[in-house]
Symmetry: C2
Subunit: 633 residues, 2 copies
């Protein structure tokens, strides 16, 4: 094996059909061109999963990968990506989580794990340094995330073993089941848990004694110290540390972008009652951090009174909190915590689950869904009992839950109703920020490579509403104004490239917020100090660009074109009815035009131009796309 700094240098390729493990080296060119994590996985999915593979067949591959900063003392890097073709969307499936799993993966001796085929029996994988075993998992079938994690730790006789597992929802083939690490750290989106279940694989358990070598320790520590100092004095340090991302709920309400009652409103009259502030004040007991992080933004809560008194858990983050409060019209914070806990234990994606329930509620409130169709549930806004019942029904694929276990796109098609208000892009349900009042985010949803998504571009800078920043960064004052559509193509391209490298270094976006703590320049410096390979600011930008184009090429090969890059009609035609973004709609056409032009993609089809791919040293993709019958400019 080659010896690298920052990387283990090893890929584990595990064939579950043959129960066979291959250990492969990482080539240097993969590192310098794709960095790690998401970059590694995206490259491989393009190369190894040909067009048309059934996501739930043994031909699909499930990949875990971490990045060069993971397992070091760099305070922002503790994440991993899980990638496969998505059963929910049929395109790139990809999700990302923090905690301690990623670092342990490197200590256990691998940068990437590729899971192929399908096991004959229910198994889980145990990796302990050189010892890689598939173990019987019959006794884990049907067990929830918490039970499975605890049982495996008991079986292996080590409470510190890091476990990434699926819950019953995945086993029941719910198309949006996630993979849960550290109990409550889900790689939740795009159904990666469903793919794992399709391989009869319940969990991956890790334990290792390795360590990561740093190329230039002196420089490394200098950057670590600088980053820590800036983190500590960032104006968001304390709010972030106390509330995590839940601090966003009140902010979203104030800006008038809080998805309320399935986006029929943008402010929630009970926002304060379900806010991160209230959660911190009345429920939280302590905070937890990811591996090596200096901001313990994850919160352990306990419900002190009422029907759910005694329930305790970790989280939730803003997305899950908002999903089971404003989005479904629920003002009972304890009930929301119960709902998130239930979704986590059953192994569901809280965002998609919330959308499915909210979608059904809107139909029901409008009289388009009958009580009988809804299994007798009174699907009124905020009906807590109905919310909890539906979560369980989805996870068991029972009755109406079976219908919405396929996600809103398929559910609306199957039901023959509510297609117009099924709020997804490319089959992935939209998150908790109204694109009409946050247009950079909205454009991000439209073009993200895994479907409606904020974590592929997340232009937090939009919230500053500062035309000087827009001018300085993009030469367009409007670029950073949240309600203006001009300049958003430039803005989103820039932040997409940034997110791609952040996901490949496997750094936390929440902390690196707004790039303040990890601009391209520092990313290059820390990557260089850690790995010893030469990286510049410009090279980093290009790596981001390369990953985005490669992912786009994968989508194009699967049939995605410009007309798939759209937001649902609600955002294009209905103005926001209330709050501080009142009257806003989403002007998609000029934004897409600008974006494609910035990207060097054909504006009619949304296909990357050959010239662009060639520039990025992705010439082989041109050939491959042509072989797949795709006409390129």
């Amino acid at each position: 094996m080659p010896k690298y700094y920052g990387y283990v240098g090893r890929i584990l390729r595990i064939n579950l059909t043959k129960n066979q493990v291959k250990i492969q080296p990482i080539e240097k060119s993969l590192i310098t061109r794709f960095l790690g994590g998401r970059g590694f996985n995206s490259k491989r999915i393009y190369d190894e999963i040909p067009k048309g593979v059934d996501p739930l067949s043994p031909q699909n591959k499930l990949m875990f990968a971490t990045g060069p900063l993971v397992g070091t003392a760099f305070p922002l890097g503790a994440r991993f990506n899980v990638t496969a073709k998505s059963p929910l969307t049929g395109i790139l499936g990809d999700s990302n989580a923090g905690g301690h799993f990623a670092a342990e993966m490197k200590f256990a001796g691998c940068d990437q794990i590729i899971l192929e085929g399908k096991s004959r029996n229910q198994v889980y994988i145990s990796i302990e340094d050189q010892e890689i075993q598939t173990k019987d998992a019959e006794h884990l079938v049907g067990k929830d995330v918490y039970e499975t994690t605890e049982t495996i730790r008991k079986d292996l006789g080590d409470r510190k073993v890091q476990v990434a597992t699926i819950g019953p929802a995945a086993e029941n083939n719910v198309l949006y089941a996630g993979i849960f690490a550290n109990l409550a750290r889900p790689a939740a989106r795009t159904g990666m848990g469903t793919v794992m279940a399709s391989k009869n694989l319940k969990a991956v358990a890790l334990k290792g004694t390795g360590s990561i070598k740093i190329a230039d320790p002196r420089r490394f520590w200098k950057i670590v110290e600088e980053t820590e100092e800036e983190t500590y004095v960032h104006p968001q340090y304390w709010p972030r540390r106390v509330m995590g991302t839940t601090r966003i709920l009140m902010l979203a309400d104030k800006l008038g972008i809080l998805p309320t009652r399935h986006f029929t409103s943008a402010t929630f009259e009970h926002a304060a009652k379900v806010s991160g502030e209230r959660l911190a004040r009345e429920y939280n007991v302590k905070n937890r951090a990811c591996f090596s992080c200096i901001v313990p933004c994850s919160r352990v809560y306990v419900i002190r009174e009422g029907e759910y008194a005694g329930l305790c858990g970790e989280g939730p983050e803003y997305e899950a909190l908002s999903s089971f409060t404003a989005r479904v019209g629920n003002s009972d914070l304890s009930l929301a915590l119960k709902a998130v806990d239930l979704a986590n234990r059953l192994g569901l994606d809280a965002i998609t689950t919330g959308e499915c329930i909210a979608w059904a509620m809107e139909l029901y409130e409008k009289g388009e869904l009958t009580r009988k169709e809804a299994d007798g549930l009174e699907l009124r806004w905020g009906n807590g009992e109905a919310i909890l019942t539906l979560i369980k029904k989805i996870a068991c694929r029972e009755g109406f839950g079976d219908l919405i276990a396929d996600g809103v796109r398929r559910a609306s098609e199957k039901l023959g109703k509510g297609k117009r208000i099924a709020l997804h892009v490319k089959g992935l349900e939209i998150i908790q920020a109204d694109p009409r009042g946050l247009k950079g985010y909205g454009l991000g949803y439209a073009i993200a490579s895994r479907g409606a998504d904020h974590l592929r571009s997340e232009p937090f800078i939009e919230l500053s509403d500062d035309p000087e920043k827009g001018m300085e960064m993009f030469g367009i004052p409007e670029a950073t104004l949240r309600l203006a559509h001009k300049g958003k193509g430039k803005l989103v391209r820039y932040f997409e490239n940034w997110c791609a490298i952040v996901d490949s270094l496997e750094v936390c976006k929440n902390l690196a917020e707004n790039m303040e703590l990890l601009p391209f320049k520092r990313a290059a410096e820390i990557a260089e100090a850690t790995t010893g390979f030469h990286f510049t600011e410009e090279a980093m930008f290009e790596i981001g660009e390369r990953i985005i184009n490669l992912e786009r090429a994968y989508l194009v090969r699967e049939g995605i074109r410009r007309n798939d890059d759209y937001l649902p009609a609600r955002f294009l035609k209905e103005p926001i009815p209330d709050g501080n973004s009142k009257g806003a709609i989403f002007e998609i056409e000029p934004m897409l035009n600008e974006y494609y032009a910035e990207r060097g993609w054909d504006s009619k089809t949304g296909i990357p131009k050959a010239e662009k791919l060639r520039k990025l040293n992705l010439a082989y993709i041109i050939e491959d796309l042509k072989e797949n019958g795709i006409k390129m400019k």
Copy 2:
């Protein structure tokens, strides 16, 4: 005695020369026209202290007063004002503090305490409900604030007794000694402690069993609940709760308004090291709240290592922190804590102390002050030992400390050097925000009735830099832009009136920040619900206007005119050299013109016009000023 809601209805008038106590009723018209606290005191100082009284003579009077919300469950009201003619400035002396003293004062049976004359011996006053005693204090002479408080509590056999005391600095006639309640809650500015010492009065100790009646409890509770809810979800709730006002240091550095090395710079390269964020992270152990407050923003710290290891205390607030860090070029946070602790124990105003030291350091660094003149101290920027030594020397009036114990105005006159860089207005030293980069604040310093001061207007809204707000509130977009001078007259008048009622209701400005939590309307509502007297939004504004005009009339009678309403030349002529306000100077003329016009004051002299005073039902003042030989328009 009349019975009121919200008030005790009693004034204690204690003549220390005669050792005599009179109990007087509060007239209804005083309440409806001046509300309480600062309003009560300012009215009385105008009426009872004629022109020319020596501040340190028995003819001066020292007044404590609280407001109608104090002692109730309203979460923002826990403060008291101490007022007298100031020995430092020769004009209105006034300072304000929180903690538990104010509420106890009402429980002990008084809204206002007026201390007259001068005791023959060293005494302290003990008030326990109806029992009011002067007690021997010979054993307390020379004792510091902590020792005195502890000794009195021991003497009275009750650890819960509320004590407001002076330290040795006041006894040694330092002109800027404060009165310290609750150990570390100083009414520090304008030398109120010095006045107390001049009366041979060491402390006031309170204990009571009374309670405050509410006129309309249902309405009262509704407003309390609303205010609490809004407080809890305010974006500054957590930063405020965790860091108190120390969160401002990094913000000031970022804006380029952090007074660094005696305002020769507006950013401090070591800001992060001495920030509130670092304090919270590395020093703080728990938080404390004022009476009835729901935001425990006061912090108890301990120094864990280094030379001052083991030192623990409460605070500091931003002003004191900044005073002993950036302003004197000190980057050692532990040393700054030690300096604040020392200043507190000795009973000094940390702001003025910091200015005196910084002023001396600038002179020294420029070679204008010799080492000999400075008692052999090496007064280089950031010399920690010199800072601590000077604090002690000031408190003991020893050597160079004796010179600067009179404040920078007198010190520069006496020394015959450094007059141009003595940074004060009307003899009161300037606080920790550069007026060149925060022009509303700057105008506030120029015209505040107690000399350079931020707490008389505090237009926090300036920090929003939002022209829409400026347009909405004042019809002038620039009004709320911190670097624009237009509209500042309107802005400052508005916030001065607001501060006057807030100081009279005795509410915390830090919490009511930016008026968001206590706009004029809510102030009227809570005052009405509490007292049963009818108050409207407009009436509140007028009460503020009345207090400001009355205070101005007091200053005018003492000889203050437009040419006293100036900032030091540094701010008018030297542009800010660095940071985000680089190049800014303070355009005082147009701002003063606009301000006087808004106020209805004569723009040549700064004297309120007769018509204005008549409108405010202050006709008797016109007569009085005329009798004092002042020509009025």
